[in-house]
Subunit: 102 residues, 2 copies
């Protein structure tokens, strides 16, 4: 749990991977919650009707695509949305996604 | 070829379907070309290293997601990007995607 997880640098983030990461309803829900809370959250604190391993799987896809950053903090992991990186690379994309009707 | 193809109404367009449609490199290339040409184009006029049936498959996914409109014109089909619908539903999304580094 104390290990750093790998994240793409800003220049390594690919639009196709970001779009694929966001295209899943559960991951989109996570991203909306992260945007709404607007602060780092412990992985378990977003209420989701899925198992811990499925949650970890979705968070890994979001992390590897460059959508979220996950840092260990004590025995938990804190997840934040990479707003600055996404806005710099794809201006408008995240806001457009978040504005979508449910 | 003279038949109208089904398209979702604006209110029926779902963000998850749009993101999934755009997440494919070939479809993203088609969308970039449609945006660049900024006019309706015959399906065959976008240069792509894929077969006609693969092209048709990708265009169907884009059409069903609400990303493009395809209308028959004589013996060909003209494809246009649904910019107005996408901008109204997800302001910034399309521009953000088109701004992405290649």
């Amino acid at each position: 749990m104390g290990q750093d997880l790998p994240h793409p640098e800003r220049a390594e983030i690919r639009i196709e991977a970001v779009l694929a990461a966001l295209a899943d309803p559960m991951r989109l829900h996570m991203v909306r919650e992260l945007a709404r809370l607007d602060t780092g959250v412990a992985c378990g604190s977003i209420d989701l009707p899925i198992s811990k391993s499925t949650r970890t799987h979705h968070l890994r896809i979001l992390r590897e695509a460059g959508v979220v950053r996950i840092r260990p903090e004590g025995t938990s992991r804190i997840t934040t949305l990479r707003r600055d990186d996404l806005n710099a690379l794809f201006p408008g994309l995240l806001d457009g996604v978040l504005a979508a009707p449910r």
